[in-house]
Assembly symmetry: C2
Homo-oligomer: 446 residues x 2
């Protein structure tokens, strides 16, 4: 029986594996983590609304009823496409007849990898727990700070990047500050928090039509988020960010900076030895093959897939799912020695949704249907619950959301892991003027 | 207004703080973690049954409606009892009029601190996540191991210590292996797992009557746990444990060893400069005072409290709660300049419960009522749900338990954090005889 190796248990890899359930092949699904992650809700873990286990399921449990699938917890180090072999981090190798590469993307700091420690991004469960810890600890530090200026720094949150993740994060942090924590502290009022969303281009949610971009900006404003477009971050350090505005460079002091600005394809793509685009994605053929290798498919965020209109298929979950199913069908065709070139992959755009906060969202649906506010939010709610894998998760997420909706509280407000360094929180009163100036918080005309 | 400082937000400290809600005092509740932990259910997080957030609540959220309580996230470094001052890790100090010390206990390795890395104990949320990771990773390693012997080593789990925590852990690991994972793997059958429970004394659950000890042992046997009493661990390393049986010393090879054998009082007690017992607990007066300091109370697992019958009050949650409430009342008396010596603390024993697994538990209730099996398990279930702090947690825990009960699945099977070292999992086939002998798994007459 032919052996199909799938690298990556995200939306692309998992949907491909499931589509091969009844195919006459043996499948090995490889991932370096034991769980499939429902990434669209990851920001809710980062903002203490959901538990990690609500949005993550063991891959083994998802495919347990498919006897032809074997799950392997390991990391692929490189691919020998011509030799039909994947090299693993433990020194072992996996031979394949067909390969599906679906390792997705990771953060990109545009050449400033040193920013990562100060401004974590949001891709994994660990990232989400780290960000949750930083957000909650910031309020704790503010409460125990003796100096009003230090307090203000801890109550300033900067989100870099105005795409869907940045918008969701900024909106959710605002809700935490303005609703969930209001009565928890004695010395600070969490409602004094400032949440800034910085976007380098002139547009929030660049992929959405203009009218929805405006709506999103307005809804963020209602939540108390200060949105700055054409604000390019040029420096990040322990005490804040340096931002290049049209009006010149300015300094924003903040103790919590989160990165939602750029992604780059997983480095595994390089070992294929085929042309990549600037973001490191594989420029696949119309049948999603790595050029020159009919038996190697690249799908999801790792693939740059050109549509008929010349644009790239967006890096969203539904696209990865469709590509996964397509690759599965193509492999079945190849096994049966049918040509696959007759029907190239075609992306069916079912629309885009981005949520901003309680009863606030935007939806760009086919046929120029554009929704915002409550109705878009309800659509977002139902679609995300519907696609959550696992019956149990769905029920738990509904309960968590209902609880939050009714109580305005967030249920998962745990700070875990080693405590944050206290060192900087205790700057004594009386800072020399030079430093005070350097760290003054931003105030500029809108 | 008099200032009461409470160190520790566990059962003792928290119940003391709540009992001071209407008292004419100002309270500062200090903890190095932001959450109160419902420790009796911690082993359920360690065995993937519950989420951390199900059994942990932010301390701030619990006391938010009590305006006279301020919560401080910080660690107490030392206590100047005479000078009425607590020194914090950040260099600040807290002055108090009355102090309640409730920092509990931590693991004790009986002088073998080097065992901690190999055999983690279970006291914090982080411990539980680490243990969960080790248990789940062990099955993954077994699945990818090429050598049958290495596979067997990964499928051997040793729990050291036959008190309630050890019994609960061993029972739960057995249930994970024999029920939750049965269909998830292709190369191994998780039911081949061996779970060993080692207890140094002749008795499991030493604090329980003989008849219940026997019942517990029988129920553990039904779950597949191999119980060894009079089995004293004399060595722990990467590949297993060395055990001193009555019949001599033997070696048990196992990749997962968990520690539930000993606790020692928090080291903060030492700075009080008062007599401690062998486990480091403060030998408090009948009014729970640190001897010589009428304004300093020591409660919970940190206190050695002698009962009228000469025995110590057990280190269980209900005792800590009662002591917390007593200390609060004593402080109110002192504020009103009433003598507190008229009514010393007296522990009301409401009975003990230990759970073993699905429909398996033992209960030792007042009036020589001794239950085991289903009825004890139901009592355990209801009492634990009843005392879980927070309405939301109760509902979620009920749902998680109902789901598990009906499906035999465990919902929170996440491996998070950096991956475990693979190095040892890939020992090639063909181990030299000397080593093979050294690592042979135990086989001894019962």
């Amino acid at each position: 029986m032919k052996h199909v190796v799938i690298i990556g248990g995200g939306f692309g890899g998992l949907y491909c594996a499931r589509a091969l359930a009844d195919a006459p092949v043996r499948v090995t699904l490889l991932d370096r983590r034991n769980h499939h992650l429902f990434q669209p809700l990851l920001y809710q873990v980062a903002t203490a609304a959901l538990n990690p286990a609500d949005i993550a399921q063991p891959i083994r449990a998802i495919v347990r009823k498919q006897p032809n699938i074997e799950v392997l917890l390991a990391e692929a180090k490189s691919i020998d496409a011509a030799g039909r072999r994947v090299l693993l981090d433990d020194g072992n190798a996996l031979d394949f007849d067909y390969l599906v590469v679906a390792t997705g993307a990771t953060h990109s700091y545009f050449g400033h990898d040193e920013w990562e420690a100060m401004a974590p991004g949001l891709k994994t469960v660990e990232d989400a727990i780290e960000i949750r810890k930083r957000i909650l600890s910031a309020f704790e530090e503010a409460e125990s700070a003796r100096d009003a200026k230090v307090q203000r720094e801890w109550l300033t949150f900067v989100v870099v990047g105005g795409g869907p993740t940045g918008v969701e994060l900024a909106g959710a942090i605002s809700e935490v500050a303005f609703h969930a924590l209001t009565r928890d502290f004695r010395r600070i009022d969490p409602r004094q928090a400032r949440v800034l969303l910085l976007e380098g281009t002139p547009h929030l949610l660049g992929a959405y039509p203009d009218v929805l971009q405006q709506k999103a900006r307005k809804q963020l404003g209602q939540l108390g988020v200060q949105v700055h477009t054409e604000a390019r971050v040029t420096g990040i350090d322990d005490s804040g960010v340096t931002v290049h505005f049209k009006s010149g460079e300015e300094r924003i002091t903040a103790r919590t900076v989160l990165w939602a600005a750029g992604v780059a394809a997983s480095p595994l793509a390089r070992s294929l030895g085929v042309p990549l685009d600037r973001a490191g994605r594989v420029l696949v053929t119309p049948t999603l093959n790595a050029p020159g290798f009919e038996h190697v498919f690249v799908i999801g965020d790792l693939a740059a897939v050109k549509q008929e209109n010349g644009q790239l298929v967006p890096g969203v979950a539904p696209a990865a799912m469709q590509e996964g199913r397509y690759a599965a069908q193509a492999i079945v065709d190849l096994v049966h020695e049918k040509p696959i070139f007759a029907h190239p992959f075609s992306y069916l755009d079912k629309g885009s949704l981005a949520t901003i906060g309680r009863k606030k969202a935007v939806a760009d649906l086919p046929g120029h249907v554009r929704l915002s506010g409550l109705i878009a939010w309800l659509a977002w709610l139902f679609i995300h619950i519907f696609f959550l894998i696992g019956f149990r998760n769905r029920i738990l997420v509904i309960i968590e959301w209902a609880w939050q909706y009714l109580s305005f509280k967030r249920g998962s407000r745990l700070i875990t892991g080693p405590p944050v360094a206290h060192a900087e929180a205790h700057t004594e009163v009386g800072i020399p003027p030079a430093r005070a100036e350097q760290t003054s918080t931003i105030s500029r005309p809108n």
